[in-house]
């Protein structure tokens, strides 16, 4: 792998600008038609998915010129995948892969962002993508959860750095654990031994660090005996389900997002959300659960010589179609009293919360700008609350709400399920 593997894809970009917008037939008005936070904020075409590919192709050809502007373009991107979905409605070409590879190359060439270096230094030291205050497993105190490092478990509940360490987000971990307990699932946690999935590190371009984390996690999982890993973190979900598979590390591990699991548990009668939760909500699709949560497709082949950009065997593109969109919605609909109204930009063409790609750390102002856009969209539905299925989304939205003084509440799906099953 490397950027030059995607030379053909980058050259395929015809500059149609589809990558800036939700798919055309989904444009429902003047407002909320943009899908790429980066170009929406920074306006130069270079910040769009297509613009990045144009630059990548040129640099492969003419050499890499790391100006401050280039690095500004590279790092002000949430790697949210929206450009890829919009592009791949019509085009057969890779969009996300060259974007990842460009980042990776920047890191390899030492062209990193200091804020992200700091995050990775912390990762290397503490196995966490957030400041590690206290012990990673402290959130579970008093919950009597199985320690997967000592006992074999059928299901490993992977918590994630943010919900482990961040006091304000620990409620998500607790709610998830309670739900699994209520459903009688045989699960455990790695507690203090848990380490970052590496997903966010990969988005930032630190491929080696990601691979280190991946190997550590797979060793831990193997040791726990778990055949299934469930997580409430969309980032971790993406890491285990997609990235680990991409690098042939996943094996036969079954990866579920908590919303998928809850959906199944409700169907099996093991969870009964009975208590009414009177709330008008709208649902935000996390990028790494939705469009980017689509399973990895292993493909090997060659381009067929000739004018067409076709391959032998035919290349099947990940276009965002198989992401996790319905389970969180089904779960919400099964809670009595919840009234769900969709936003304009949803599912595979959802607007990013702003947190991905290292932007939370490298450019918090841009992350907040992105989140504010989403808050406005959520408010336009008349909902009282914005529900999501990713703690990074929740954290980012809360910060934007505080900044704007909005009355909107933010919940994770598990928080509402927890209310309904008590």
């Amino acid at each position: 792998m490397g950027l030059d593997e995607y030379k053909g894809d980058m050259e395929m970009c015809c500059r149609c600008s589809a990558c800036k917008w939700v798919p055309m037939q989904r444009v429902s008005g003047h407002r909320f038609a943009n899908v790429c936070p980066s170009i929406s904020r920074y306006n130069f075409h270079s910040y769009s998915g297509g613009g990045r590919l144009n630059i990548g192709a040129a640099m492969l050809k003419n050499g890499f010129n790391y100006t401050p502007r280039l690095l500004d373009i590279v790092y002000n991107c949430q790697m949210c995948g929206a450009c890829s979905v919009s592009c791949n409605y019509a085009m057969d070409m890779q969009v996300m892969e060259p974007l990842y590879e460009f980042r990776i190359k920047c890191v390899e060439d030492g062209k990193t962002h200091p804020a992200l270096d700091k995050v990775i230094a912390n990762l290397r030291k503490h196995g966490s993508m957030v400041p590690a205050k206290g012990k990673r497993g402290d959130w579970a105190a008093g919950m009597n959860l199985k320690d997967a490092t000592r006992e074999k478990v059928a299901v490993l509940y992977y918590v994630g750095s943010l919900t482990s360490y961040d006091r304000r987000m620990q409620k998500v971990a607790k709610a998830t654990a309670k739900i699994l307990q209520k459903a009688g699932v045989d699960f455990g946690i790695a507690g203090d031994a848990e380490t970052s999935s590496g997903g966010r590190a990969y988005q930032m371009g630190y491929k080696e660090d990601f691979l280190n984390q991946a190997r550590k996690n797979m060793a831990l999982i193997k040791q726990s005996g778990a055949k299934t890993i469930v997580t409430a973190s969309a980032e971790a979900y993406h890491a285990f389900k997609v990235l680990y598979d991409k690098f042939n590390l996943k094996g036969s591990l079954k990866v579920l997002h908590i919303s998928e699991y809850i959906q199944q548990l409700i169907k099996d009668g093991k969870l009964k959300p009975r208590k009414k939760v009177d709330l008008a909500v709208t649902y935000h699709d996390p990028c790494h659960l939705g469009r980017l949560g689509e399973p990895w497709i292993h493909w090997q082949g060659k381009k067929v010589p000739g004018d067409r950009f076709v391959f032998d065997p035919p290349k099947v593109y990940r276009r965002g179609t198989q992401g996790v969109f319905e389970p969180p919605r089904d779960v919400l609909k099964s809670i009595p009293g919840i009234k769900l109204t969709e936003m304009n930009r949803i599912k595979e063409y959802a607007w990013c919360c702003g947190a991905g790609g290292g932007v939370s750390e490298s450019n918090p102002e841009f992350a907040e700008w992105t989140a504010r856009e989403r808050i406005e969209e959520a408010e336009s539905t008349g909902a009282e609350a914005l529900v999501t299925a990713c703690p990074w989304c929740e954290k980012t939205f809360n910060a934007a709400i505080e900044a704007t003084g909005s009355h909107l509440k933010v919940y994770d799906v598990v928080e509402l399920v927890e209310k309904a099953i008590e």
Partner: protein, 489 residues
């Protein structure tokens, strides 16, 4: 070609540091051209200030909207109009909408459809500017070319703000013509083919009645969008005919009977492209559809204003098609496929899948005008493709051309293209030769003149229009800062 610090600062003073860049790193994303700088004005006043500076420093500029394709000279100042993206007004009672350059068609269309209205969608796609001059699938009922513009706010190459028609006289957008002779004689286009010098900063566009739903009932996840149901009083079909003559007979009768909402003379290669989600699927589907058609054909959408109106239109359609020996493409009678095309051809206007997805390049000869005449020429151009297809130099699309009626068949558009591998020098030369020969034949045999840049021979053959145009340009653009050439939006 970098601007001097002093000149750069002058532009920076107008738009702010955040909205100008001459970093070479961004140029590959701007048509791989070394522009003097990219500048993003926010409003008409900034555009005017920029142009005045361009005149002062004799710096050529080009305004661009979404900028799909483009050919520009080095050293030009690129006005990226992305920040000028407001819908200024939608006036239902007087059937026009006023937009800034970077409102894309999809945005305006979505707003209009909520109100039972719509606009012309250019063939370039609804991802392009709503103020584009151009032609598209909906021309049958929504006109085309420069005939959808009403009043225009224009910054001249000299940096004067001119408001055409009623806008200049009474601050209203409804008319772009007068007093006296019309400035729309030269305010024909923000973008090629043919470019009015200066910048269109706002334009009023004609809008039309939309009898369909306020939103299409789309279901599915990209790229597999379909309609959960065909909305009432809408129908899409494809008909093939035993010959071009029969197809034309049906096409013109349909125009005269005013029943079609959209009539698009697709060939099945284009149908296949639009209903499939990958190149491989397209190839398979094209082979299948090719067996189902008897010859050239068209895609048609009927839209009834009422159930009675819809019933009438269907009855007439079937009668006309039968008279011409037409045959319905069974695949399109499947509601799923019908729904895909219905939505695609109204909301998107299909372009990208048809043209760019396979990769490679395509060389096109498009011509607006008298449809039956251009069909006649296109038959010959299509025959001339056959040897290239036989040698494997161009994609086999059956040698077909495509086109459609405009304004219920009063005018029309015909286009024929060759798709080829630009890395194959033999193919590239063959296609270039084909293009040259067919263009020359069109001129020599008096069909039309393909205008590509200033050409003395062609100009002389067309009332020396090029000399008059140059004279006007000299007056309007004394410092020659608004050159020809630009981007398709």
């Amino acid at each position: 070609m970098a601007l001097s610090k002093e000149i750069y600062s002058a532009f920076e003073d107008v738009v702010g540091a955040e909205f100008i860049s001459d970093d070479p790193v961004i140029m590959p994303s701007y048509h791989a051209t070394e522009f003097a700088a990219i500048v993003l004005p926010e409003n008409t006043a900034q555009v005017q200030a920029i142009i005045k500076l361009c005149n002062k420093h004799k710096l050529p500029f080009r305004p661009v909207c979404t900028g799909w394709t483009g050919k520009f000279a080095k050293g030009v100042l690129y006005l990226d109009l992305r920040r000028m993206n407001r819908i200024v007004e939608i006036n239902e009672k007087n059937m026009y909408a006023v937009v800034e350059p970077y409102v894309i068609t999809a945005q305006l269309q979505a707003e209009l459809m909520k109100r039972g209205l719509h606009l012309n969608v250019k063939g370039a796609g609804s991802n392009c500017s709503a103020m584009l001059r151009g032609h598209g699938h909906l021309d049958q009922t929504t006109s085309g070319d420069d005939r959808n513009h009403l009043a225009i706010e224009w910054v001249t190459p000299a940096g004067d703000i001119v408001r055409s028609g009623s806008l200049g006289s009474s601050d209203e957008w409804f008319c772009g013509d007068g007093p006296g002779p019309s400035l729309r004689s030269i305010l024909t286009s923000a973008v090629p083919p043919g470019v009015t010098p200066g910048v269109f900063t706002k334009a009023a566009m004609k809008i039309y009645h939309w009898p369909g739903p306020t939103r299409f009932p789309i279901e599915g996840i990209s790229p597999n969008y379909s309609l959960s149901e065909i909305p009432p009083n809408l129908m899409a079909r494809y008909f093939s005919f035993p010959s071009v003559e029969k197809m034309w007979q049906a096409e013109i009768k349909i125009g005269e009977s005013e029943i079609a909402f959209e009539l698009m003379g697709f060939n099945v290669a284009m149908v296949a492209a639009n209903i499939t989600t990958s190149n491989e699927e397209e190839e398979k589907t094209f082979k299948r559809l090719s067996k189902e058609v008897q010859g050239p054909g068209f895609f048609i959408i009927l839209a009834g204003n009422s159930a009675a109106d819809f019933a009438y239109k269907k009855r007439v359609l079937h009668h006309i098609v039968n008279e011409a020996g037409g045959k319905s493409l069974a695949s399109l009678e499947d509601p799923r496929t019908e729904g895909i095309l219905l939505c695609q051809c109204i909301r998107i206007s299909a372009s990208i899948r048809e043209t760019f997805r396979p990769g490679g390049a395509f060389s096109s000869i498009p011509v607006m005008g008298q449809r039956d005449l251009t069909i006649k020429w296109a038959i010959g151009a299509g025959k001339a493709k056959e040897p290239l297809i036989a040698k494997g130099l161009i994609v086999d699309d059956g040698g077909a051309a495509f086109g459609w009626g405009v304004e219920q068949g009063h005018l029309g558009k015909t286009e024929i293209f060759c798709k080829f591998d630009p890395q194959n020098p033999v193919a590239k030369k063959a296609v270039e030769d084909w293009h040259k020969e067919q263009s020359a034949r069109a001129f020599k045999e008096r069909y039309f003149a393909l205008l590509q840049g200033q050409n003395e021979e062609i100009g002389r053959g067309l009332s020396n229009y090029h000399r008059w145009w140059n004279e006007i340009q000299k007056e309007l653009d004394p410092n020659r800062v608004s050159p020809e050439g630009g981007a398709l939006v």
